[in-house]
Symmetry: C2
Subunit: 422 residues, 2 copies
């Protein structure tokens, strides 16, 4: 890393836009689960979910290049690609989720979803969790739990306690569904009291930013019933668990067994091409469009649709959902073996290729240790990062082409790093 490059970065982008790692990685090339830095050093990418089917997958690159050379325009003209993709994507959903709005980012998707809820209910209240992130627009960032909005949270936002493996709400893991529902019911009461009413509950159905706690099927049923009884709708933010990452299902809401009214998609959808979507029932879309007349110039352009279509096809053709399940289980098994050798590992959990190891020391969440392990692993050529309420969970969320040898390298390097820094 040349000092000059970091100085240029701070000057142009601002010193507040931090990099990962004390010694930032100057990446120049990616392929599959590998990244290379400017000195030719190879890293195993155990963290990036955007390159869902692998860095620079040739079929996605080819789809982008071919369509970009043929036509790229907006959807005020008619083009096959968005229709073909829309049918293929909505075909992956049940519950009448047959229509979509294509946008450029998960933030735009959630921004639209919140307005859909407003249009459907005539109310404004939004319930999220107290340890979440759904994006960066002015409206959506109101839900951001890690950074209190300027001027404080607005009256229409309510944050409910998120489930957690090590510090379960209500005091015990087995009672968390009821404890979560009680939090939601309290939020509903407050929103009805303050006049906002309940427009929606928005949740990542994998509680990814909350530290992806282990939840049973049906976990959300009571909370969802309470929201529906109050007239609200359910938004499933599938940006992180979606597209088969969790191995057992295509979508997080299928795993928990509930029917969302709206699903939002983002990062992995185009393997890095800026494309995202809101999938919903036709009547939700219609009510939203009647109220807001939404149009997105770049949304669903032929190149974005082609990129997204290639991603869907690669997931199918390379059986990546099955790979996420199999390799994810294998990787989780390896981390469990590590747990036997490192007492700092208090919990190993996850589903498919979204897993992690939570670190505690002396009865407390080991944030500093976790940060040291992240740095040490980076120095040993394995890239990952931390998650959870205390940033004390090593978060593994690699491209879904992650293989068994990758899982073994991950475990070996985590083992060595834990040994070196403990």
């Amino acid at each position: 890393m040349t000092e000059t490059m970091l100085e240029r970065r701070a000057r142009l982008l601002g010193p507040q836009v931090t990099t990962f790692y004390r010694d930032p990685v100057h990446v120049v090339r990616g392929e599959g689960t590998a990244l290379w830095d400017k000195d030719g050093r190879r890293y195993l990418d155990c963290y990036n979910n955007v390159p869902h089917v692998g860095h620079c997958h040739p079929r996605v690159v080819e789809a982008i290049a071919t369509q970009a050379a043929t036509l790229n325009t907006h959807t005020r003209y008619v083009h096959d690609m968005i229709l073909d993709y829309g049918e293929a994507l909505t075909g992956k959903f049940g519950h009448g989720l047959d229509s979509l709005v294509m946008v450029c980012s998960g933030s735009e998707a959630n921004d639209v979803a919140l307005r859909m809820a407003e249009a459907m209910t005539g109310k404004t209240g939004i319930i999220g969790t107290d340890n979440t992130y759904h994006g960066n627009t002015a409206a959506v960032s109101q839900l951001n739990a890690k950074k209190v909005p300027v001027g404080g949270y607005k009256a229409h936002v309510r944050q409910v306690p998120a489930p957690d493996n090590m510090e379960p709400i209500g005091g015990a893991r087995e009672g968390q569904a009821e404890a979560f529902a009680r939090g939601v019911e309290a939020a509903i009461a407050e929103l009805e009291e303050n006049g906002c009413g309940v427009a929606a509950m928005i949740l990542c159905p994998y509680f990814a930013n909350e530290g992806f706690p282990t939840l049973e099927r049906g976990f959300l049923d009571r909370a969802i019933a309470a929201v529906r009884k109050a007239g609200g709708i359910i938004i499933a933010d599938e940006v992180q668990p979606g597209f088969g990452r969790i191995g057992s299902h295509w979508w997080g809401h299928e795993r928990l067994g509930f029917a969302p009214d709206i699903v939002t998609l983002g990062k992995p959808m185009g393997n890095g091409h800026p494309v995202a979507a809101v999938v919903t029932r036709p009547e939700v879309l219609g009510t939203f469009q009647d109220a807001f007349k939404y149009f997105n110039t770049f949304g669903g352009n032929p190149v974005s649709a082609a990129a997204a279509m290639a991603v869907l096809q690669v997931i199918e053709d390379e059986a990546l959902v099955k790979n996420a399940r199999d390799v994810g289980a294998y990787a989780q098994g390896l981390l469990r073996e590590l747990q036997g050798r490192h007492e700092a590992i208090a919990d190993v959990r996850g589903a498919g290729l979204f897993l992690g190891a939570e670190l505690w020391r002396e009865g407390k969440p080991a944030r500093a240790l976790c940060a040291e392990v992240v740095e040490e692993m980076r120095n040993r050529g394995v890239l990952l990062h931390s998650a959870g309420r205390h940033d004390n969970t090593l978060k593994v969320r690699p491209p879904c082409v992650f293989g068994r040898a990758d899982a073994e390298q991950l475990a070996e390097v985590m083992d060595a790093a834990l040994g070196a820094v403990s």
Copy 2:
């Protein structure tokens, strides 16, 4: 157009997402200023500003394809491309506008810009015009003049009368700068009275959606002075006039001769690739980042930066600013000739390759006639659309590789269409 395709579109995207033209164009290929439909018919594109350097420009396609095959990841790692582009782009600005945030759409850019104003001033009031559009996020769509937001405009939004050639505010063209400033001063007084205070005035410096009235250099000076005196800052939304389209300058604010605090960029920046930016002074960026901790996953990724860099280089290498000036002047001259033959043409105006002909009939804005001319021109192979308060201006805003022969075809077809429908 197959009926089936429109049915699929209505089912997937909603019937409210309208197409251009009664007989929508089913596009399949684009090159330069040409679009082809599925039957091989060629259209002259006189409307699309997204393909700024021409549909499917080979250098932009090559830049996207090469970078997509090499690396595409976010800016928590360090990469040259965003730095090289950031330096090249900010090098096109004066006024200390030396830093940037890269995002995916003009809407995201304006969403960020409004929060920058809030962070800089501690106030919330925003002044726009009464005939504008700045994007589609929940926050930005509050400024949308053509669609009243659900629940009405919020207290922090004030819309001031926009200048207009045919219906000048204050009653006469020569007094418009003062009339505009009086509107701004009234808005400031209201925002101070209602406790919001003045955070920013946001304007397209070409007043593109307002019908691009003819304005003299210095037009905004008094209004800007009033905003600054009230503690507010100035946001120039350069999505439409920027990147040399207006021929005389790279940016609309240079043409009017004022110094914005923030400039937002969008549609043409990546020739269709979803990339946009906010350019500002380092202290504005820093104050915003301290307050909001903004990060955009797709924003400034290596592929987006490569696409945007190729656009900048093509503008320079093909001298497209000069082309916009020369061909724009030639086209405007041809439209003035038409004005002599068609009494419906009440005004011809514009700058560079952003021009138009306003239609009036029997002393009234001729909205229906304008719509007929648009349809008739489409049927004769020339694509454009309408603009202005009454949608009675034929709006010409083609890719900036528009040539003299294109201008001649535009004028001939407009001539014939006006003759056919009048």
